[in-house]
């Protein structure tokens, strides 16, 4: 190519025009490569980061009949995620600690410790929730009793409807504070 340029120059051909044409194709090639990357890359990135923008489904999930739960008791209730994917298997399940306070009053605690999300256990005798990971402890109302948790246990919205206890959206509560 360089030889060609040299030849053209020596023949008095307008070299700048030739170079300009080459520059044009150079820039066109870069632009086309960028265009292709965007055309292919945009949907690809969109597909991967889609969960960023997925809104939590606001569905009420039934935990059981009101009379299935004793007043003053805290029990572990298994919940199936209604929006789970068909291949979720056992991971579609999650757990909620449900406490019946009175005739029609329930508290549904997330089973995730607010420290780092580990599963808290209800210690019936001690009337406490305890976390196995870093020793977080909560009272029966979810308030922090000891250890590193920065806030009380997360509570799901609960309602009693047609004799059934329901909670809204079982999600992993994310503590977004430093």
């Amino acid at each position: 190519m360089n030889e060609n340029i040299a030849d053209h120059s020596s023949l008095g051909v307008d070299a700048p025009a030739e170079i300009s044409r080459r520059r044009f194709f150079e820039k066109l090639s870069i632009a086309l490569a960028g265009f292709c990357a965007v055309v292919v890359g945009m949907p690809l990135v969109g597909f991967i980061i889609a969960p960023f923008f997925r809104k939590p489904p606001e569905e009420w999930v039934t935990l059981g009949k009101v009379n299935d739960f004793q007043i003053g008791k805290t029990v572990n209730v298994t919940v199936i995620d209604p929006s789970s994917l068909p291949w979720a298997g056992v991971t579609a399940k999650s757990a909620v600690w449900l406490r019946r306070e009175s005739e029609n009053s329930f508290i549904a605690f997330s089973a995730n410790c607010t420290h780092l999300g580990c599963p808290v256990r209800w210690m019936e005798g001690a009337d406490l929730f305890m976390c196995p990971c870093h020793g977080g402890v909560y009272y029966n109302d979810g308030q922090v009793a000891a250890g590193p948790p920065p806030r009380p246990l997360f509570r799901y919205d609960v309602r009693v409807e047609n004799g059934e206890v329901k909670i809204k959206s079982v999600v992993v509560p994310i503590v977004t504070t430093l």
Binding site: G89, V90, C118, P119, R121, M123, A126, A146, I174, V175
Partner: protein
């Protein structure tokens, strides 16, 4: 026959250029680059073991949230060599983490990161980060109970990052909670994304080793001067350099062989880490722990003060990473010998001591309640009826024993109460039980007065025995 082989070889070599490809193996290196220099090659060997064993495992592993656990049970218990392969992959990962750590410590102590090898160090530090990320994502692919809860822990940590934390957490979970999308994301990251990036960086790292040469062992009193270093290095190679293959590489081969044999033996004899319960998030009887190479970080999260925890969790890894990356920018010339850089020795020693101490703490996890604590025996209690006996029962039933030791039984989350009566009065015990404090819950609302009395009676019986010489 020999002639035929030679003809075929020459034809292939001419068309493919095998000799040209292998030529870098014969690059000239300082002849004093001996046993201290084997850790880099050992890291590469461990990586190759990981790629090979990972590819083999992928033949049977199904990255589906519903089936992965069953395929791992099959690989471990039924597939020929499956248990061995899982072990190979696990110990290969451990070897890679150890070797990259040793390689990094050696290059730091030898000052090899200085001019002109700054970017060799930088790419190596990034490879350390990718290796740890591979270790974490690999543990998740084990897809048992610990793996599933570890994803939640990772999401919660990411969630602490201001502004983008919630998005990141959902990205990690593959939605709002663990489910069908979770595992396949980590599979893609562990099997395609991270190895792809690592192949690129390993290539770049090796290219930089060839471009700038293997650093010569440092000599005290011979500082690096960027103006003259390259000339001096070329003179050194001309004077006493040796081709890496085969003059110097034999040490790498011997060490690499020993490393592979160790990995193979561990895989055969000890086997892979046991699979725990299935990844069912509704089963809360779980005790998630990271694999050994991240256990020190697990301990750190339990020990740092709560008030600064979020900052440490987010900022500390960033600051540590940036500091390590910036080392050659801040200190690219001068003395290389460790004997003239005592602070370098101190940094390595302190890092090892800190990580080692945290690792031991993480192994013991004294901050975690002991949920397996059994009721105290008659011999320990010293009574079979009455308030002391009832108090001992309450001490177990109210989970006090989960957090406190009595004569070596129980948990270590709180103080050892074996001789608590020698330290606290009756009133102090009542106050402590009822009101809690010092990282202990208050039991005032969950204990009846007579239960408090019984519990305190038991605690008052926890005295150091009086020895005959004390009585006289």
């Amino acid at each position: 026959m020999k002639r035929l082989f030679k003809t075929v070889w020459l034809w292939l070599d001419d068309r493919i250029g095998i000799s040209v490809l292998l030529k870098p193996m014969k690059h000239i290196a300082p002849q004093d680059a001996k046993w201290w220099y084997v850790f880099g090659t050992a890291t590469l060997i461990a990586f190759i073991v990981q790629v090979a064993s990972g590819v083999a495992l992928a033949f049977s592993f199904i990255p589906s949230s519903s089936q992965a656990y069953e395929t791992l049970v099959f690989i471990t218990n039924s597939a020929p060599f499956g248990r061995f392969l899982r072990g190979l992959h696990y110990y290969g990962a451990s070897a890679m983490v150890l070797m990259i750590g040793a390689h990094m410590a050696q290059t730091f102590l030898f000052g090899s990161y200085k001019f002109p090898r700054e970017m060799t160090w930088t790419t190596g530090v990034l490879l350390l980060g990718f290796t740890l990320a591979m270790g974490f994502t690999g543990q998740l692919l084990r897809w048992d109970q610990t793996a599933a809860w570890s994803v939640v822990v990772a999401a919660e940590q990411a969630g602490r990052i201001p502004l983008i934390g919630d998005w990141l957490a959902r990205f990690i979970l593959g939605g709002n909670t663990i489910g069908g999308a979770t595992l396949s994301r980590f599979f893609a990251i562990h099997v395609f994304v991270l190895p792809g990036i690592m192949f690129g960086f390993i290539g770049l790292h090796l290219w930089l080793v060839l471009r700038h040469g293997i650093s010569e062992p440092p000599t005290a009193g011979k500082p690096v001067n960027p103006v003259t270093y390259r000339k001096e290095y070329e003179e050194l190679l001309e004077k006493s350099g040796r081709p890496f293959w085969p003059d110097l590489a034999w040490r790498d081969v011997i060490f690499g062989t020993a490393l592979i044999l160790t990995i193979v033996l561990l895989a055969f004899i000890i086997g892979p880490p046991a699979l725990e319960k299935p990844p069912d998030p509704s089963v809360l009887d779980a005790d998630p722990r990271p694999d050994w190479y991240l256990l020190w970080y697990f301990a750190l999260l339990a020990l740092i003060p709560v008030r600064i925890e979020g900052y440490v969790m987010i900022l500390a890894p960033v600051l540590i990473g940036l500091t390590i990356l910036m080392i050659p920018v801040l200190n690219h010339k001068g003395e290389r010998a460790a004997s003239r850089r005592p602070w370098a020795i101190a940094v390595v020693c302190l890092s090892v001591i800190m990580i080692g101490s945290l690792w031991i703490e993480g192994q013991q996890s004294p901050w975690s309640p002991n949920f397996q604590a059994l009721p105290l025996s008659e011999k320990v209690v010293g009574a079979t009826s009455g308030p002391v006996f009832q108090g001992a029962q309450l001490f177990h039933d109210k989970a006090c024993l989960d957090c406190h030791l009595i004569q070596g039984h129980g948990g270590r989350r709180g103080p050892d109460l074996t001789y608590i009566a020698d330290k606290l009065t009756h009133d102090n015990m009542v106050i402590r039980v009822v009101n809690g404090g010092n990282n202990m819950p208050a039991f005032g609302s969950s204990l009846k007065p007579q239960e408090v009395d019984a519990l305190v009676a038991f605690l008052e019986s926890r005295k150091r025995p009086i020895r005959p010489q004390d009585q006289s």
